[in-house]
């Protein structure tokens, strides 16, 4: 068990090194001179030289790379041009808002999809099942930037129930949370349905039924506990997707998280900040996956032997 945990934690290191390297190279994919693109043609030569020095772009590539690592470890993560501040502080101030919305939508997604998915699996092939599958398909096919205006139109413009956008109160949370949660519930309903359906076909379910257990106990104690394992993995992925998708969600709802920061960063061509946000989200994602895997190894002993 401990050796699995140890190996799994160690396996994060090469991934993080790879991610850092790719994020470092990002600025070098810019066609032309990054400094000229950041400051525009009209900039003074002295300003350009100063920025080039600040970003370390005058150094050889290998030096720049070690500088990049150094900035990660000294806790600045580079220097934002548009905010004139260290990148890491800007991110950590806003990450809470992003996590808050992401977790709330994940909860909504689970609350919608769990009853739908389980019910669909129990009554596979019936009208209830077809309806759930149809709902899932529609949920999967509506992107947030279509869903959000529709919800805003009804809930804010017509019925005046919730604010259009912004942050602060629970009322502000409602619309973005529901829109995101609805989108997630599509995939989740489908996953839960498939997973429960598979479990219901297992021998131990037949045994449980044969020994006269109530159907409720068969479902909740035997089927669901096993069916949830793949579903939890998907939720780890979804959380990552939410963090990445925050750039759209937070722009739509004027939510002051890292997604909005990301949006303003690339609009202002503040590339150090772009790098910082990309690095933060992808490293968070690596650790979310690590956490999910480790949580598994405690819950399900089989996982430790598989890998």
């Amino acid at each position: 068990m401990w050796s699995y945990i140890f190996r799994r934690i160690l396996s994060v290191i090469p991934v993080v090194i790879g991610v850092v390297t790719l994020v470092f190279l990002l600025v070098h994919f810019i066609p032309g001179d990054p400094v000229e693109i950041m400051l525009g043609d009209a900039a003074e030569a002295a300003d350009k030289a100063r920025l080039r020095e600040l970003l370390g772009l005058n150094l050889p590539l290998l030096k720049q790379y070690t500088l990049f690592w150094k900035q990660i470890f000294d806790g600045t993560w580079g220097h934002s041009i548009s905010f004139s501040r260290p990148v890491l502080g800007l991110i950590t101030e806003r990450f809470g808002a992003t996590m808050y919305l992401s977790l709330a939508s994940l909860v909504v997604g689970v609350m919608i999809s769990f009853p739908l998915g389980v019910n669909a699996a129990r009554k596979a092939g019936t009208l209830a099942d077809t309806c759930s599958v149809g709902f899932a398909l529609i949920g999967m096919s509506i992107p947030i930037y279509v869903m959000a205006p529709v919800a805003v139109w009804f809930f804010s413009v017509q019925w005046r129930m919730f604010p259009v956008a912004g942050y602060g109160t629970l009322a502000h949370l409602f619309l973005p949370m529901i829109c995101l949660g609805f989108g997630l519930s599509g995939i989740l309903t489908r996953m839960i349905r498939t997973s429960v359906l598979e479990c219901l076909g297992e021998d131990y379910i037949r045994t449980a039924r044969a020994k006269g257990l109530k159907e409720r106990n068969v479902l909740f104690k035997h089927a669901l506990r096993n069916a949830m394992i793949p579903v939890i993995t998907i939720m780890g992925n979804m959380l990552g997707g939410l963090l990445a998708g925050a750039v759209i969600t937070e722009t739509l709802f004027d939510w002051p998280g890292i997604g909005k920061l990301f949006f303003s960063a690339f609009q202002q061509r503040d590339y150090p900040l772009v790098q910082g946000v990309v690095l933060w989200i992808s490293v968070s994602y690596v650790f979310i996956n690590l956490f999910v895997d480790l949580a598994y190894s405690f819950v399900d002993p089989r996982v430790r032997y598989d890998s």
């Binding site: 990002l26 992107p143 990309v278 992808s282």
Partner: protein, 272 residues
């Protein structure tokens, strides 16, 4: 039996929608539509009428022709990137899976690295540094999506290479390329087609997301994502500006998802 019928039905409905959209995308230049670029500032965001069936959008452009030309962009960029990405994925994935060893190790580490970035993060970041243009959008989409195809193809190849017909070809002294092209690729087509159908839906979503964020098609190019972004600003008095591109996008994705499900039912014997 019942499930099979459902699969056929979704293939039928999905195929119908997708063929309709492809038809629109192909025929748009020949249809008697208004010029998508021509502006009419006085009638900006006017409601649907006999002259403009879907109403007018920002700067008074005709929304019907914008949505039709947007279909051309979405499906064109989507199909182009999916074909390129799956071609790269098929080649690299089957090579790595068949050869194993170093080729496999290196390829899978690159695939793992690309998978370390969640959702649309890497797409947005790359598009942000390369700058908005249709060509850059295609580059970014291919660069980030080939890994999915490579992973799938490698997995299937690993099981295919143990089969007798590959051993027979090896015994006859067939070259690696011949085994790949004559014996592996034909057997990869079915799973690849399912993945490409879903991939096309994903690619269209990526295209409209990028255009929505201002990182995709340059301003002025008719695109669903851009229309949606402009429309949400005027939602209170011109909801039709969001409805038209919204329905077009959702319908296309829905059609592709239905078609993908139907194809999977038909082509993948593992699904009930």
């Amino acid at each position: 039996m019942k499930v099979l019928r459902r699969g056929q039905l979704s293939l039928f409905i999905g195929g119908f929608i997708v063929i309709g959209m492809v038809g629109i995308a192909l025929l748009t230049p020949y249809l008697p539509l208004n010029d998508p670029q021509s502006q009419d500032l006085v009638n900006q965001y006017s409601r649907p009428s006999w002259m403009n069936w879907l109403g007018r959008g920002e700067n008074g452009v005709d929304l019907l022709s914008q949505v039709f030309w947007g279909a051309r962009l979405s499906l064109g960029v989507g199909a182009g990137s999916v074909v390129f990405a799956s071609f790269i994925g098929m080649f690299l994935g089957s090579f790595a899976g068949y050869k194993g060893g170093w080729a496999d190790l290196i390829l899978m580490r690159i695939v793992d690295l690309l998978y370390a970035f969640p959702g649309i993060l890497l797409v947005v970041a790359l598009a942000a540094v390369l700058g908005p243009s249709v060509r850059n959008m295609m580059i970014v989409m291919v660069a980030t999506s080939w890994a999915g195809y490579a992973r799938l193809v490698r997995g299937v190849t690993l099981s295919l290479r143990e089969r007798e017909f590959v051993a027979a070809a090896e015994a006859q002294g067939a070259s690696t390329f011949r085994i790949m092209s004559k014996h592996l690729w034909p057997n990869l087509l079915a799973p690849l087609m399912v993945q490409m159908t879903f991939g096309l839906g994903g690619a269209i979503l990526v295209e409209s997301s990028l255009s929505f964020l201002g990182l995709g098609a340059p301003p002025g190019t008719p695109s669903w994502g851009q229309l949606l972004n402009q429309g949400r600003e005027v939602l209170t008095f011109a909801p039709h500006a969001v409805i038209a591109p919204g329905i077009a996008l959702v319908l296309t994705i829905l059609g592709l998802n239905l078609m993908g499900d139907g194809l999977r039912d038909r082509l993948d014997p593992k699904v009930r």
